[in-house]
């Protein structure tokens, strides 16, 4: 009897600690480093917006546009940032469906990253348009034989779905956050949480409803995620007769690249947030190793698909394809191309494969390499076939200006900024899920903790 009581109080203490940790980003007084970081990010984002405004006012001529390189880094940003939104879907949905228990502390971060990146990524296409003010025509006069319409449909659907997927498991946590923070939450957050939690009381019926919805959403989000990147790949493969673009392999290449870099981004954001908010107790080294293990097959698959993509074209030597591949392998883009191959595939995979380097620091380094080089990879994928002149077989010159650079930097900086801001409003760990899984592991009946909470109010 006494032992049980002790155990129970211990568990209560642990749960209180977990809750404190989950709301730490909101409780913690922002330190100097934090403020500086946010300020720097804000400046970079503002600079990016300034670049976009400049382009709006003075037209595409300010991005050093020339007709031989008609698609530029904006498209690459778009693909990259929408692509890393995959991490959320995978870590959260796939692991949920397969019942991997260790996922629980990661899901919130992964889903938040997905929401933020899909929104920013979708927005990245806007500076690429000549007349963004005419974008409403996508709705009023769509041409359904255009892959771009399907892009827009797929990304908007996926965006909405990932917002819902982020929001639904958040509902119980909002109540928990309110209980944990009490008066410290402030009026805005209290109001927001009360409105958004729809009278959540942790009743078994409510829990069942949410579980069912989450099961459905997890099922839906995976094909949606696959479709988004397939459509993006087909937007190149279908649209154009350009060499290398018109490869049948582009859709799977895009999907695998997105999975690969998406998980890498989840590793990065988990590492950064773990450090910032000292969540080492919940996000352990083991988590990074497991994420790295997931990275391994995707990286290997990407490498394999790349070889499958290049080998036939390079072997046949059809003039256009041969010219583009030559440009990639040995031409003016060779440095970048081999940097992608080595820095984005060989080195990270080696780091993960070797037990000596399979430590958090190294894994984070590998993930950073992957995210950076896969952005570069997308730039190459967009720009090199674009500059190829299909009539004459020559290559145009692609160049950029501060406008492109600032828009790119702004988009990249907006990701951490929005993630940081988001966790000022929502708990960073999915408390409910962690506790539930713990209880399952303990084999307890697990009815006490959450159902008691409403009575405390």
């Amino acid at each position: 009897m006494e032992k049980l009581a002790v155990e129970r109080s211990l568990r209560e203490a642990a749960s209180q600690e977990l809750r404190e940790a989950a709301v730490r980003p909101m409780l913690q007084k922002p330190g100097r480093g934090y403020k500086l970081l946010v300020a720097v990010l804000c400046v970079v984002v503002a600079f990016g917006l300034a670049g976009f405004v400049d382009q709006l006012i003075y037209g595409m001529s300010v991005v050093d546009y020339n007709n031989s390189a008609f698609w530029d880094v904006n498209i690459a940003n778009f693909i990259t940032i929408v692509g890393v939104a995959y991490g959320g879907a995978v870590v959260s949905a796939v692991l949920r469906l397969t019942g991997a228990q260790w996922r629980a502390p990661l899901t919130r971060i992964a889903e938040a990253t997905a929401v933020v990146t899909v929104l920013i990524g979708g927005a990245c296409i806007i500076p690429s348009l000549g007349r963004p003010n005419m974008m409403w025509e996508f709705i009023t006069r769509p041409n359904f034989s255009s892959p771009l319409i399907w892009d827009a449909l797929a990304i908007s659907t996926y965006g909405i779905a990932s917002v819902v997927f982020f929001y639904v498991p958040l509902i119980p946590d909002l109540v928990i956050a309110q209980q944990t923070m009490g008066g410290r939450a402030g009026r805005v957050r209290t109001l927001l949480w009360r409105k958004l939690s729809w009278g959540w009381q942790g009743l078994p019926a409510q829990r069942r409803l949410i579980d069912r919805m989450m099961g459905l959403l997890a099922l839906m989000i995976i094909p949606l995620a696959v479709s988004v990147h397939s459509v993006l790949g087909w937007a190149f493969a279908i649209t154009s007769f350009r060499p290398w673009w018109s490869e049948e392999l582009w859709a799977p290449l895009f999907v695998i690249a997105a999975l690969y870099s998406g998980i890498a981004l989840v590793i990065l954001s988990c590492a950064a947030l773990r450090r910032t908010y000292s969540l080492q107790k919940y996000i352990t080294d083991q988590h990074f190793k497991r994420l790295a293990y997931i990275l391994l097959p995707f990286g290997a698959t990407y490498l394999y698909l790349s070889v499958a993509d290049f080998l036939p074209g390079a072997y046949h030597g059809e003039p256009g394809t041969a010219a583009v591949f030559r440009q990639l392998f040995f031409g003016s883009y060779a440095l970048w191309f081999w940097l992608v191959v080595v820095g984005g595939m060989v080195v990270p995979l080696l780091i993960i494969a070797l037990p000596q380097t399979r430590r958090v620091g190294w894994i984070v380094f590998a993930a950073a390499c992957i995210v950076a080089t896969f952005w570069l990879n997308r730039v190459l994928m967009v720009v090199v076939p674009t500059t190829y002149d299909m009539m004459k077989g020559t290559f145009g010159v692609y160049s950029w200006t501060w406008v492109n650079a600032s828009i790119t930097a702004g988009a990249m900086a907006a990701i951490p900024l929005l993630i940081l801001l988001l966790f000022r409003f929502v708990p960073i760990l999915s408390v409910t899920e962690i506790e539930e899984l713990e209880k399952q592991q303990l084999g307890g009946t697990g009815t006490d903790l959450i159902e008691e909470t409403p009575e405390e109010v």
Binding site: M60, N67, W71, G130, N143, F144, L148, F241, M390
Partner: protein, 319 residues
């Protein structure tokens, strides 16, 4: 005006009706597939529809247009309608059936012939086109490529818009700014274009240009820009060679044709089988093409361009 009407008709998804010989909905795709050699065009059976009195029937919508009409809202209805209707938008040949004879001249089907044998690369066509359409120097709607053939011989390849019968640029335009008239002219409505440049990716002839800078000093035009007379070019939209679409109905030849001192470029009409160059040399298209082994560019892509090139047979063309 007639051009405009054609365009409006095209943009409101109405194409001339086409009836299959066999209305069997299941078999007709097959029939069509087998019969494709003699398949009629989208464009030339205007009058047969009028004659057969079918103009009041529900119009079958051409393939591309259909994509545009099916909206998410009216989806079910559209689907049902499509299932019931003859599923092959393109029907079996009309003129292979017992011939109803055309009573009036059909719409012109414009085409061009470029006789590479006499092109000396003077680029008068490019200059006159740029002058006439008020284009900046780096936008060459007709571009003369300096090429070197397999034997190391230099030759020149003037590249216009190929006015494909199956234009990839039209298919990929997300907002339907690029369209094809009943006379086979592929034009851009720059009031609609959003400047996404997907069409530039799609065009295998690199004939599309994005307007970044304003046109050089265009005098005030009597009416706003139209697809047939896109002057001045709207900035931040895509433009391309239009075969001087505004001049053709008035019996005027395109600027590049009239200004070519060598008579390289012929403007022709496939329905009348007549083509003429700037030196008023008239040829019978079918014979001229056959006798001179004319080719089309990138035939293997299936775009069905309307520009025929007569290769130079390796002569030294450097004047």
């Amino acid at each position: 005006m007639t051009q405009n009407q054609d365009r409006e008709k095209d943009m409101t998804d109405i194409r001339p009706e086409k009836e299959a010989i066999e209305p069997s909905p299941l078999l007709s795709p097959l029939v069509t597939a087998l019969d494709r050699v003699h398949d009629t065009t989208n464009d030339d059976d205007h009058s047969s529809a009028v004659e057969s009195g079918d103009s009041n029937k529900p119009r079958s919508i051409s393939r591309r247009r259909l994509f545009g009409t099916v909206s998410a809202v009216g989806l079910g209805a559209a689907l049902g309608a499509r299932v019931l209707e003859n599923p092959s938008g393109a029907s079996a040949a009309v003129h292979t059936a017992a011939v109803t004879i055309t009573k009036k001249k059909p719409l012109s089907q414009w085409m061009m012939i470029v006789d590479l044998r006499s092109c000396d690369g003077c680029k008068a066509c490019t200059a006159s086109c740029q002058y006439y359409h008020y284009l900046p120097k780096d936008i060459e709607w007709i571009k003369v490529y300096d090429m070197v053939d397999a034997d190391g011989q230099k030759y020149y390849l003037p590249r216009l818009c190929q006015m494909c019968e199956d234009p990839p640029c039209q298919a990929v335009c997300p907002v339907g700014a690029t369209f094809r008239t009943d006379e086979g002219m592929v034009l851009i409505d720059q009031n609609v274009c959003i400047g996404c440049r997907t069409c530039m990716a799609a065009c295998p002839y690199e004939s599309r240009y994005f307007n970044t800078t304003a046109a050089p000093k265009v005098p005030r035009q009597p009416f706003p820009t139209t697809p047939e007379w896109p002057v001045p070019q709207r900035t931040e939209t895509v433009g391309k060679c239009i075969w001087c679409a505004a001049r053709l109905p008035q019996g005027m030849l395109p600027e590049c044709v009239t200004n070519c001192p060598m008579g390289v470029i012929y403007m022709g009409d496939l329905t009348t089988d007549v083509a003429v160059n700037g030196k008023n040399e008239v040829v019978k298209i079918s014979e001229f093409l056959r006798e001179n082994d004319a080719v089309r560019l990138k035939e293997e892509l299936g775009t069905n361009p309307r520009v025929y090139y007569i290769p130079g047979h390796g002569q030294d063309l450097s004047a």
